[in-house]
């Protein structure tokens, strides 16, 4: 029994302070990102969410250059980008697509420059990789209060916005008729998205932040029938894959003789993708069974 326990949980897993911080920060970030992600997927704003994550890299590398907390950098640059994207892309879907692409490009260019300056000024070549791909075990315990505060802020915002946001996500005309101020809801949601993506970027890295945002949400929407269930399922998948990834990454240190562990972010992303594949499989098997029972039902559903 204890052999099995040690095979699953490598020695020192539960007493390592870096693992504790990673588990707490990771769980909070996963919950925030997955819940915000359900709305992002429903609203078809995955590109905006991804762009905010990628741009966070500019904030992260600026923070590395200035020596301030990366979370501040992620949120700061996200706010600037969100304003730019919503001012430029206010005329329909295609316009929004291009505006996001252009803002993303400009921001990535700046990231390139900042990372270049990081390397030439402080000669830390690792900055690029750690900002872009993250490392949960490297999160400083001092950022914990900020992470808790950001998660609380998100919970409050989403609680207050829940109904109008849901209505406007499903059908914005209907929401407008019901007296929802759609533009205001849209702007507030973009603010929520910025914070959620920043938290996600802190744990899995800027370019992988989309994984926590979109992956669990897309999987949950596949499985659940109501938005409330989808949110719960998404949060569960997010936290589950983050924690499993922490365990696997910690274990991976002992997999090879050279003791070079595999990155946590890789495990997070892979587990999320596997969860999506399983959901896809389940739902296609489910719909095939339903077809056998009553062909008319599945026809109306699809």
């Amino acid at each position: 029994m204890s052999a099995l326990f040690h095979a699953l949980f490598a020695r020192g897993l539960f007493s390592n302070p870096a693992v504790h911080t990673a588990a707490i920060v990771g769980a909070l970030a996963a919950i925030s990102a997955s819940v915000a992600g359900v709305f992002t997927v429903m609203r078809g704003q995955s590109f905006a969410g991804h762009a905010l994550g990628d741009l966070g890299a500019a904030g992260g590398s600026a923070a590395a250059l200035l020596g301030i907390s990366p979370l501040v950098g992620f949120v700061g640059i996200g706010a600037v980008a969100a304003v730019a994207m919503s001012t430029l892309g206010s005329h329909g879907r295609r316009d929004r697509d291009v505006a996001t692409g252009v803002v993303l490009g400009a921001g990535l260019g700046v990231t390139g420059l900042l990372l270049y300056l990081d390397t030439t000024h402080s000669s830390t070549t690792g900055a690029a990789v750690s900002v872009m791909f993250g490392s949960m075990f490297a999160v400083a315990p001092s950022t914990l209060p900020a992470v808790v505060a950001a998660t609380g802020f998100l919970a409050l915002c989403l609680g207050a916005l829940y109904r109008p946001l849901l209505l406007s996500s499903v059908m914005s005309e209907l929401a407008a008729v019901q007296g929802v101020r759609v533009a205001l809801v849209e702007a507030s949601f973009l603010g929520v998205l910025v914070v959620a993506v920043a938290l996600s970027a802190l744990t899995v890295g800027a370019v992988l932040a989309t994984a926590l945002l979109i992956g669990p949400a897309a999987t949950a929407i596949r499985l659940a029938r109501s938005p409330g269930t989808a949110i719960l399922v998404a949060a569960a998948i997010g936290v589950g894959s983050t924690w499993m990834a922490i365990i696997l990454a910690y274990d991976s240190y002992y997999w090879s003789a050279s003791h070079s562990g595999w990155p946590v972010s890789f495990f997070v992303v892979s587990l999320i993708f596997v969860a999506y594949l399983v959901a896809e499989l389940l739902s296609s098997v489910g719909s095939r069974l339903a077809t056998h029972r009553d062909p008319s039902v599945s026809r109306t559903l699809s």
């Binding site: 692409g101 252009v102 993303l104 260019g109 992988l208 992303v269």
Partner: protein, 263 residues
């Protein structure tokens, strides 16, 4: 600036810009900026894998671009397009994180792959670049009408006997190929910028497809040349200049049309 190894760099930048202008025209017309970005960024892990395995960088890029096209198309069967793109992209990038952790001693090379750097482009690489570019441009030339029709309106395309799904797959394949060849020059993260910014500016300036296509090529080439020249002078990454100049082109085009409308 124009001597020795730089000659090949100028030629390579020109070839890449022409392809980016042509492909970018359709990226903007089809609202496929996210797919363009995803294929570019998702091809990067291929280069990282090539670093680990010691194989050809271009081979890795092409392989991962192909994986990206397959992933987007497969997930898109049922899910939404943007979700399919996002999932494919992060999965590829997750693999990238793994390869990078195995090849940590190559960090500077990684940065130049991500953000571009003026490296000597060898003559054999240039020949390969020209071949792939010709393939992309010819394919687009052959499929010009179906691609344009399905970009404007899928139903319109269908009435003309064009399968939108097939046109989409063909477009993604060309996009993937164009991406893979452009990466070593501009850097993975900025290839899509060279496609989106200049083409969007061109389409704002002219509603006529052919004029817009030509303007898109001209703007992309100007952007690439300016970026290479400035990068050469400053030693900063090419991607920074590509990103800012492309954004400037787009903003200028928007400002000029809204000023004209007001007059």
């Amino acid at each position: 600036m124009f001597s020795g190894f730089m000659v090949n760099t100028w030629l390579a930048a020109t070839v890449v810009a022409i392809v980016a202008g042509v492909v970018g025209f359709f990226v903007v017309a089809r609202g496929a900026s996210f797919a363009a970005h995803a294929l570019c960024a998702g091809a990067f892990p291929g280069a990282a894998a090539a670093l680990v395995l010691g194989t050809s960088t271009l081979g890795g890029l092409v392989a991962f671009a192909a994986l990206g096209v397959a992933g987007i198309t497969w997930i898109n069967r049922k899910g939404r397009r943007d979700v399919a793109t996002a999932l494919t992209l992060v999965t590829l990038l997750g693999l990238g994180a793994l390869f990078l952790s195995m090849a940590s001693e190559y960090a500077p090379e990684v940065e130049s792959l991500l953000f571009g750097q003026i490296l000597g482009v060898s003559s054999s690489e240039l020949v390969f670049l020209v071949l792939v570019a010709t393939l992309c441009v010819v394919t687009i030339g052959v499929a010009f009408r179906p691609l344009l029709l399905t970009s404007v309106n899928e139903d319109l395309g269908q009435t003309q006997g064009i399968a939108p799904k097939r046109a989409d797959l063909a477009f993604l394949a060309i996009l993937g190929l164009a991406t893979a060849m452009a990466v070593p020059v501009v850097g993975t993260l900025l290839v899509s910028t060279l496609m989106v910014g200049p083409s969007a500016a061109a389409q704002i300036l002219s509603p006529r497809p052919f004029v817009a296509l030509m303007a898109s090529i001209a703007l992309a080439a100007t952007t690439a040349w300016l970026a290479v020249a400035l990068a050469y002078r400053s030693g900063w990454p090419v991607g920074f200049f590509v990103g800012t100049i492309a954004a400037l082109a787009y903003l200028t085009a928007r400002a000029s049309t809204s000023a004209r409308r007001r007059c």
